[in-house]
C-alpha cells in the first residue's frame, strides 16, 4: 500500500516517487495546493476503490495521515 500511495502522490504532484517520503505535506510540496488536494483525493479514491468523507478529506494533509485514513477504511 505504501508504494501505491507514494506513486499516486508523485503522479498528482508531477514528482518522482523517490521525492515522496514520510514527511511529505503541503508545507514541503509547493504543488500541494487546494486544487491539487482535490485531484489527489480523486486519484486515491479511484486507485483504492474507496470514498472518503468530508472530514477525512480535510484531515488527509500529509503522507502519514493519508496512510492512516486508508488503513482505517
Amino acid at each position: 500500500m505504501d508504494e501505491k500511495i507514494k506513486s499516486v502522490m508523485a503522479t498528482v504532484f508531477g514528482m518522482d516517487v523517490s521525492e515522496i517520503n514520510e514527511n511529505s505535506s503541503p508545507d514541503v510540496i509547493e504543488e500541494w495546493d487546494s486544487l491539487n488536494h482535490m485531484n489527489l483525493i480523486v486519484a486515491l479514491e479511484e486507485e483504492f476503490g474507496v470514498e472518503f468523507s468530508e472530514d477525512q478529506i480535510a484531515s488527509m494533509l500529509n503522507y502519514k495521515l493519508i496512510k492512516l485514513t486508508l488503513e482505517e477504511l
Binding site: 495546493d33 482535490m38 479511484e46
Partner: protein
C-alpha cells in the same frame, strides 16, 4: 480508451506531451465559472493520443467575460458556463425570485453571453455548453424558476449563436453517465467544483470529435465484414435466402438498422466498403436477389471479398482510396479477425460486433462520432443564416461594447474597513489560504493578527465586494506597518473569486489616500515570488512604484506618496468611512 484511471491519464498525458513537443501546439482555453481543473489533463490526453500536441489553458475562476478577451487567439475555446453558479447558490436562491429579479438575471447573463460571442467571433472554433438544470431538478414535475432561467438562457444562445460556435449538450453526457456519477457534491459545496472525474472523461470523449475533425483526424471509411456483420448467418452455408437481413426475418431487424445508420454516414460523404472472406459471387448475389436488403450495391465504393488475410485487404483498401489506415473503421464479428487486424494494423479502429445482437445498433451508434465532420455542420447552419443575421444585428446593439462597459453594468460596490476587530478570524484565514493574488504570502494566526490590531502601529485594511446580484463577502486585505512618516505594505492579497474586476486598483488607491491623509510620505512594498503568485509579479510596477532592489525571489519597491497617481476606477463605488 477512457477506461483509464485519473493517475494513468496523468502519467500517459505527461509521456505523450514529451513525445509530441516537436508537433505544432494546439492551444485550447477553457473558460469557466466553476472549478474544472481536472478537465485539462483529460482533454490533453484524449487529443494527444491522436498525436495532437494539445495544450490546455484554464482561465481564471469565474472570469469568463474577462478571459474571452484574453484568450480569443487560442486554436479552440471551451466555454464551460455552469447554471447553478451564475450567482452564488442560484439553484436554491432562484426559487424565491420574483419575475423582476429573474428578468434582471437573464438580462445580465445574456449581456455577458453576447459579449463573449463578440470577443470570440474570430476564434477558429468555440464550444459552449448548453445550460442544464438536470442535476438539481431531475425530480420535479413542474418547471420551477431555475428551469425557466435555464430555458431562457439556452433559447438566447441558440437564437444568437455565431457560426464558429458549437453547442455542447451536456445533458446527454450526464444522462449517459447518470447524474450520480456525473457530479461530486462534496466538492461543490466546499470548493465550487461540481463535476466528477468520470464526467470530465466522458465530456472529453464527447467533444473531441470537433477538434479531431478540424485537424483532419476524422475517420473517412467504414469497412464491413459480411457474414454475421452485415447480416445474420453465413451466406455460403445458409444460402442467399437463408440469411437474415431485414425486419422481415427474426434477427434481421438489428441489421436493417445498421444498414440505415451506415446510409446516414454515406450521405455525409463516408465511404462504405466490404472486407470479407467469402466467395465473391455469393456476396454479389445477396445484393442482386435480396430486394429486402436496405443496403444497395451501388452504395458500396470498395469491395475486397476474397480469401486473403484481412490486414492485407485493408491495406489495399486504404491505398486504393488514397487515405491513411488511421482513417478506417473496420467491423467484424470474429474475435480472431478483430485481434489479428488490431495487432497487425493498430492504426485501424476495429469494432467487434457484440454477441448480444440487440446491442449492435447501440455499439454502432457509439462509433458514429468518429466520422464527425465539423465543416459540414457549419455549412448546415448557413441554412438558417437568413433569420439569424437579423437576430445578430439586434444583438450587437444590445451588448456592451467593451470590458469597461461590462464592469460598469455589474454595479460593483467596494466596502473598505480599517482595523475591524469583528473580522479577525476571516483576516487570519485569508492570509493562510490565499495563494495566487498574494504579494508576500505571509501566513498569520488569529493571535498574531490580534496583536497587530492592538499594537497601534499597524493598519489592517480589508474589503468586501458586492455587485447587483449579491455579495462576495470579505475577500481582500492589506496589512500596512507604519513608523513615523514611513510605511511598509506587509501584506496585500485578494481572493481569486474577485479578480478581473480591477478591485485591487481601487483598493490600493484608497489605502494610499488614507496613508497620505495620516501624514505618511514614503511607502515601501515587496513582491516575494512563490510557485503560485506569478500573476502579481508586476503589480507594483503597474501601480507606479519604483524598484529599489531585485533578487531572484524578491523585489523591493518604494513610492513617494506625493507622486502617486490614483487610477480612479470609475466602475466601482467605494465606501470607506
Amino acid at each position: 480508451m477512457m477506461d483509464l484511471k485519473y493517475t494513468e491519464i496523468l502519467n500517459e498525458n505527461r509521456r505523450l506531451g514529451k513525445q509530441l513537443t516537436s508537433n505544432p501546439p494546439y492551444k485550447i482555453s477553457v473558460l469557466s465559472n466553476i472549478v474544472v481543473n481536472q478537465i485539462s489533463d483529460v482533454i490533453e490526453y484524449k487529443l494527444r493520443s491522436h498525436n495532437i500536441n494539445a495544450i490546455v489553458n484554464l482561465g481564471d475562476y469565474d472570469n469568463i467575460v474577462q478571459d474571452s478577451e484574453k484568450f480569443s487567439q487560442s486554436d479552440a475555446v471551451i466555454v464551460f458556463w455552469e447554471l447553478s453558479n451564475l450567482v452564488d447558490g442560484l439553484f436554491y436562491k432562484s426559487h424565491q425570485y420574483d419575475v423582476a429579479q429573474c428578468n434582471a438575471l437573464i438580462e445580465k447573463i445574456t449581456g455577458e453571453i453576447s459579449f463573449v460571442f463578440k470577443n470570440l467571433a474570430t476564434t477558429s472554433v468555440v464550444l459552449i455548453n448548453k445550460f442544464s438544470s438536470l442535476v438539481f431538478n431531475s425530480s420535479n414535475i413542474r418547471d420551477n424558476m431555475f428551469d425557466t432561467i435555464c430555458k431562457q438562457l439556452n433559447a438566447y444562445i441558440t437564437d444568437n449563436l455565431p457560426s464558429n460556435f458549437t453547442i455542447i449538450k451536456i445533458d446527454k453526457i450526464i444522462a449517459n453517465l447518470s447524474i450520480g456519477s456525473s457530479v461530486d457534491l462534496r466538492y461543490f459545496y466546499s470548493s465550487k467544483a461540481l463535476y466528477s472525474i468520470e464526467f470530465f472523461k466522458a465530456y472529453s470523449t464527447f467533444v473531441s470529435p470537433v477538434m479531431l475533425s478540424i485537424l483532419g483526424k476524422s475517420k473517412k471509411a467504414l469497412i464491413f465484414d459480411c457474414d454475421n456483420t452485415l447480416w445474420k448467418g453465413i451466406v455460403g452455408e445458409d444460402g442467399v435466402d437463408g440469411i437474415e437481413l431485414s425486419s422481415g426475418n427474426k434477427n434481421g431487424i438489428y441489421f436493417e438498422e445498421i444498414h440505415n445508420l451506415s446510409q446516414e454516414l454515406a450521405k455525409q460523404g463516408i465511404i462504405i466498403g466490404l472486407c470479407s472472406k467469402n466467395n465473391s459471387e455469393d456476396v454479389e448475389e445477396v445484393f442482386a436477389k435480396r430486394t429486402d436488403f436496405s443496403m444497395k450495391r451501388e452504395g458500396i465504393s470498395i469491395v475486397k471479398v476474397n480469401w486473403n488475410d484481412k490486414a492485407n485487404n485493408l491495406r489495399e483498401i486504404a491505398s486504393e482510396l488514397n487515405i491513411g489506415l488511421d482513417s478506417l473503421v473496420f467491423l467484424d464479428d470474429s474475435d480472431f479477425e478483430v485481434n489479428f487486424v488490431s495487432e497487425t494494423l493498430p492504426e485501424v479502429s476495429v469494432v467487434r460486433v457484440p454477441d448480444k445482437l440487440y446491442e449492435y445498433p447501440k455499439v454502432f451508434r457509439s462509433q458514429m462520432p468518429l466520422f464527425y465532420n465539423h465543416s459540414r455542420s457549419v455549412e448546415d447552419l448557413s441554412r438558417v443564416s437568413m433569420y439569424k443575421e437579423a437576430n445578430e444585428r439586434k444583438l450587437v446593439q444590445a451588448t456592451f461594447s467593451n470590458l469597461e462597459d461590462y464592469l460598469y453594468s455589474l454595479e460593483l460596490k467596494l466596502d473598505i474597513q480599517l482595523n475591524e476587530k469583528t473580522l479577525l478570524p476571516r483576516i487570519a484565514q485569508l492570509t493562510q489560504k490565499t495563494n495566487q493574488f498574494n504579494l508576500t504570502t505571509k501566513r498569520y494566526t488569529e493571535t498574531e493578527i490580534d496583536g497587530m490590531l492592538n499594537d497601534g502601529s499597524t493598519k489592517i485594511f480589508s474589503f468586501s465586494l458586492e455587485d447587483k446580484f449579491g455579495g462576495y463577502g470579505t475577500t481582500g486585505l492589506s496589512i500596512v506597518k507604519v513608523k513615523n512618516e514611513k510605511a511598509e505594505i506587509d501584506t496585500f492579497l485578494m481572493s481569486c473569486r474577485v479578480i478581473g474586476r480591477e478591485v485591487e486598483i481601487a483598493f490600493l488607491d484608497t489605502i494610499i489616500n488614507n496613508l497620505a491623509a495620516s501624514g505618511i510620505e514614503q511607502l515601501t512594498a515587496r513582491y516575494v515570488k512563490t510557485l503560485k503568485n506569478g500573476q502579481v509579479a508586476e503589480f507594483y510596477e503597474l501601480s507606479g512604484f519604483s524598484t529599489v532592489e531585485e533578487t531572484e525571489n524578491t523585489k523591493l519597491y518604494k513610492l513617494n506618496i506625493g507622486d502617486y497617481k490614483a487610477k480612479e476606477i470609475n466602475h466601482i463605488s467605494i465606501n470607506f468611512e
